[in-house]
């Protein structure tokens, strides 16, 4: 795509993305409020003692005594000004809570994503180049294995193996607390903690990308322009790199965009198993505690993440594939 078209493209996609996010926010608002129980009753239930006045006070304080449409309106007004509301349960603005957790989730999903894509595409390419060989079979079997294994189960097995038996890696948390670490040491520390969760989350998607890359590589390898490249004497490695892989990556990019949302969902499980302090776990706890504002905030954030990621992949696609603008 030509650069001059970029602003228009971004504007169109931006408006569309905003509408989708708005629809998601409204839909989630109603869904969450349709759930039985409210934050006041949860707090009452966990406080060991309660009375009517206590409940009424909490409800009034949380704004739960207002009609639902008023609550929605207040919430929407907030979202438009990027104010995600206030968690009365935790006594903090939702944005503060999410901001504390978001980097951890971004780090985890980002690492898992990079791992999945690089390793997945590499394995897929390898398998496609040696189609029918033992290397292909092994890669296919590995991919299928990861593909068919429950994510949380992999996490448990990894912990058993690497943390319990071998004692190589920490089994939970994001960093070693209680020790003052700075600079490289701190980064290494986080990296050590990140390895198992990122691996757990990444393996499944690694399998997906490996399979997808292999399939598209084989499909592209059959196409005429690959034959053209061979006919003009391009060495085999370059045929694969410049012609086959480059075209085969297009569906992979599209898929990566769709996968973003799944990655966030998968991170809930991984964050649970590894006590990773991210927003997935925040959302799950908020759901159980009926902390509406936080839950909506996390939904908002993940939707923005997914939409943003889709936009990025679209953009990448547009850069890699010159034909995109034809479809508008």
């Amino acid at each position: 795509m030509e650069l001059s078209r970029l602003p228009g493209f971004l504007l169109r996609r931006g408006v569309k993305a905003a509408l989708v996010i708005l629809a998601i926010v409204v839909c989630n608002f109603f869904l969450i409020h349709a759930a039985p129980g409210d934050p006041a009753s949860v707090i009452a239930g966990q406080s060991g003692a309660a009375d009517e006045r206590f409940l009424a006070q909490l409800r009034q304080q949380f704004g739960l005594d207002q009609p639902l449409y008023v609550q929605l309106w207040i919430y929407l007004k907030g979202v438009l000004t990027l104010d995600l509301g206030f968690s009365h349960r935790q006594q903090l603005p939702v944005w503060t809570l999410i901001a504390q957790r978001l980097p951890a989730t971004l780090l985890l999903t980002g690492a898992a994503f990079v791992l999945a894509v690089t390793a997945g595409v590499t394995l897929g390419t390898l398998a496609a180049r040696r189609v029918g060989s033992w290397a292909d079979s092994i890669i296919t079997v590995i991919a299928l294995t990861f593909y068919a294994t429950p994510l949380f189960w992999v996490g448990l097995m990894l912990v058993l193996f690497f943390s319990v038996w071998l004692e190589w890696l920490p089994s939970f948390g994001m960093n070693s607390v209680g020790v003052e670490l700075y600079g490289i040491a701190a980064m290494l520390d986080v990296a050590q903690h990140l390895l198992l969760p990122a691996l757990t989350l990444g393996l499944f998607y690694l399998a997906v990308y490996a399979r997808l890359t292999r399939a598209t590589m084989l499909e592209v390898a059959d196409q005429d322009f690959v034959k053209t490249a061979r006919a003009k004497g391009v060495p085999e490695g370059q045929v694969v790199r410049r012609h086959v892989l480059r075209n085969a990556l297009l569906p992979v990019i599209t898929f990566a965009g769709i996968q973003a949302g799944q990655l966030v969902g998968g991170s809930i499980l991984v964050e649970t198993v590894f006590a990773w302090p991210g927003i997935g776990r925040l959302a799950f706890d908020a759901l159980l505690a009926r902390d509406y504002a936080v839950l909506l905030g996390v939904f908002f954030c993940t939707s923005v993440m997914v939409v943003g990621f889709n936009l990025m992949t679209d953009l990448l696609y547009a850069v890699v594939d010159p034909r995109v603008e034809v479809e508008g």
Binding site: I24, L31, A34, L144, A148, F152, L156, G261, L288
Partner: protein, 281 residues
């Protein structure tokens, strides 16, 4: 049909998958015979390792037979997989068919709707739905169906879109066949192979999704499922590894089998692709 079998059986993995799948179905069908009584019965002491006290795969934290749980759980897991897939197919095929066949603004509206569902992280959405409708087998199936139909709609739409302009559909149009007849006799049968392949994979992912929900404690408490078994076993994994390892293997094998069968189906139903996959060999 013979042709189909020939092509299917050429894929060795698919045959292995089919055998595993049939075994799983057999175990499900015969669960009451092999393990009479309720899988919830406390049959022995808790945490008996596999092989002891007649517990083939050990006992769990209440002394229940893990093997009996897996056998009885296979019914529910397969049922959840099948029913939610059928439901997702019902939604996905009808929406996809509508969008692909009618095109125009209907297509546009349906695709926006689908996109909307794809933007919400599906697992998070499933958790939300199950929590809202309280965890019962019905709500779990419903939630899985609701989050898994969009890919079906997309595939069906794409198929319909391309089939709609194919000459044999135009020929049917020129013969004066009704729209419904065209969809049912001309388009749908030809769109079936990708749907069949996709649904075998959907059953697999539905089983995974159910187990993930149970892992988080969002399963039906009255039903023995594989997901429940792992969910209850994971916290004692270091005391009783067998409690989560065996049901995990059961899920793994079933999902693997379904995937293998899916590939075999795809080979058998799309001979063109099959040649490609197998190369010249």
């Amino acid at each position: 049909m013979k042709d189909f079998w020939r092509r299917f059986s050429r894929n060795r993995g698919a045959v292995v998958g089919l055998v595993i799948l049939l075994l799983v179905c057999l175990v499900a069908a015969l669960a009451d015979v092999i393990f009479p009584g309720s899988p919830w019965d406390m049959a022995t002491a808790p945490f008996m390792p596999p092989g002891e006290e007649g517990m083939l795969l050990g006992s769990d934290s209440l002394g229940r037979d893990v093997a009996a749980g897996i056998a009885h759980g296979s019914r529910i897991s397969l049922m959840v997989g099948a029913v939610s897939t059928v439901a997702a197919l019902a939604i996905g095929v009808s929406l996809g068919a509508l969008a692909g066949y009618l095109g125009g603004w209907v297509d546009d509206a349906v695709m926006r709707f689908t996109e909307f569902f794809q933007t919400i992280p599906s697992f998070v959405f499933a958790i939300l739905l199950v929590a809202i409708f309280t965890p019962t087998i019905g709500s779990v199936v419903f939630a899985i169906a609701v989050v898994s139909w969009p890919p079906v709609a997309r595939v069906v739409r794409a198929e319909f879109l391309s089939l709609r302009s194919r000459e044999f559909v135009q020929a049917a149009e020129v013969l004066g066949k009704s729209r419904l007849a065209i969809v049912v006799t001309d388009i749908l049968p030809n769109a079936l192979s990708p749907i069949v392949v996709l649904s075998s994979l959907m059953v697999a992912s539905a089983i995974l999704l159910e187990s993930a929900l149970s892992f988080l404690g969002l399963g039906d408490p009255n039903l023995m499922t594989w997901g429940f078994l792992i969910g209850s076993g994971r916290s004692v994994i270091r005391i009783a590894w067998w409690m989560s390892v065996f049901p995990g293997l059961a899920i793994f094998l079933t999902v693997l089998a379904l995937n293998l069968v899916g590939e075999g189906l795809s080979d058998a139903l799309n001979p063109r692709l099959a040649r490609k996959r197998g190369g010249a060999a």
